[in-house]
Amino acid sequence: MGNHNHTHNFTEQFEFSGKLKTWTLIAMVVGILAIAFGLLTGQQERTYANLLLMAYYFTCVCAAALFFIALQYVAQAGWAIGLIRIPQAMSRVLPIAALVLVIVSASGLLTHNLYHHWNAEGLSDPASPHYDKIIAGKSGFLNVPFFLARLVIFLGVYSYFASLFAKYAEREEMEGGLVFYDKSFKWSSLFLVIFGFTTPIWAFDTIMSLEAHWFSTMFGWYNFAAMWVSGICTITLIVILMKKAGYLSWVNENHLHDLGKFIFAFSIFWTYVWFSQFLLIYYANMPEETVYFYKRWEPEYLPWFWLNIIINFVAPLLILMARDSKRQMNRLMVVCIILLCGHWLDYYMMIMPGTVESHRGFGIIEIGVAVGFVGLFTYLTLNQLSKRSLVSKNHPFLEESINHQI
């Protein structure tokens, strides 16, 4: 029951310095070296595919953090307020992530390293020998100006909302009161509607249009599920690592349990959407649809295809089903790491067969680019996190979060 005499230090701040900072910078250098290596050894397409993968992953994780914040407001949920600084820091990084993704997509598009399936000379010109009737039919939607405009507008709107919630959180911290909570609630409702309708299109554009002949209406939700699972995993992983470093004394196994339930539930949801897409295509057996899985069942992709399901479905299902696993920090941390790697593989399976096709690889470029982006994300997020206290002390639900018990 109401126990108001806790002894937490709400003014504590995260210190971002020393070895950790050095390592994130080293990781970024590794990333740049890997990109340079890829471009200089004539593997432009593979490098661009990896850049797209990690830029998209990076943006998705930050967007999922923004979605998490908005969801807490709209659901009027209190349990996560003790750890809300972490998604807040991640959503503050969203504008930079969005910029990176726009640069990667636009430069890939204009240099014909990405999206050349629909963006090439003469595809929609009936007189040309390269004329492609299907692509020509889609050219009203898939053309360079409209594609770039959509990407910039969507990511710009998300970034605007991220800065709006950041501003409200900041002013709530300074001035207190319920005004900013109410404002955040109102704008969160609008944001969720916009986000819900635009993320599928965002996924259609950035990932699905790599193979422009093929289409699937499930693809948007499939990507959304992947985004949400990896976002929650990132939040949970940061919370656990912060707790291990001695911060966030007010976050206990009850909060981890809720995060674990989210991870468990949305891993199942991911599988549900993945399987819905697969089953319909398998059952209908129409050539224009099965081509997607045909490519992924080629010998060079087949093992990864199955590994994807094992990592992202079987692993969280078996490890996280028991109540105790969700409440134990170490076990949850292992699952988070497995799933973050798993969703890298998931994006890999979405992107690579449509770009590098049979010239698939897993080497310096893949690992280097991934390490670089992890370093960039860690650096930016922890930098944001270190700028303010680790709890929003004027949030109306803070007390509820501290007394959370399940």
């Binding site: 029951m1 399987f275 697969f278 089953l279 398998y282 059952y283 057996n285 109540r323 018990q405």
Partner: protein, 178 residues
């Protein structure tokens, strides 16, 4: 020797109830059970109640459903009456998954309803086991076994001091019997 079987302490407020539990435990009085009209956070830990086995039961029912589904479909579509559907193999496993999923959910749901009725004596034809009717309405009730805890006056005093609005000495365990 008195015929009192159970001592019931009535509280009006969950905070008083928790205080009463503390007081009884301080005086080494065993609590038989606690009845409340609503769930109270942390009461299971305080009373040392073991974790519910409902999860394992649900898993068992669910697996029964899965196995029923896979064996049923395999018998029908592979062994008894194989048909060519869209050129697929007879054992077209992806097609079976939705049915396996549905039967898992169905068996788990019905199994849990049955378990709930069984465990709570709510099946048709059985009288519910209620120690005090007001515990289903507006009172928070601590029940103490009067046969094993013989210092009745002392228990009465502890309960009253902790804020009990009423202390009952019951000669029957339940208000109703089957």
């Amino acid at each position: 020797m008195s015929n009192i079987k159970y001592i019931l302490g009535h509280f009006e407020d969950p905070d008083d109830l928790m205080h009463g539990i503390d007081k009884l435990q301080e005086n080494n009085v065993d609590i038989y059970d606690v009845y409340t009209p609503m769930p109270i956070h942390g009461i299971e830990d305080k009373l040392g109640i073991k974790r519910s086995r409902l999860g394992k039961v649900a898993f068992g029912f669910g697996m029964t459903g899965t196995i029923t589904a896979i064996s049923m479909i395999t018998y029908m579509l592979v062994i008894d009456w194989p048909m060519n559907i869209g050129g697929k193999p007879h054992f077209a496993f992806p097609d079976f998954i939705p049915i396996m999923f549905e039967l898992t959910v169905l068996f788990a749901a019905f199994g849990m309803v049955g378990t709930y009725f069984f465990a709570n004596h709510l099946a048709p034809g059985r009288a519910p086991r209620v120690m005090d009717l007001r515990a289903t309405n507006d009172r928070f009730v601590i029940a103490i076994d009067a046969k094993t805890n013989t210092a009745h006056d002392q228990i009465d005093n502890i309960l009253k001091e902790a804020g009990a609005v009423e202390v009952k000495h019951n000669e029957r365990k339940y208000v109703s019997y089957e």
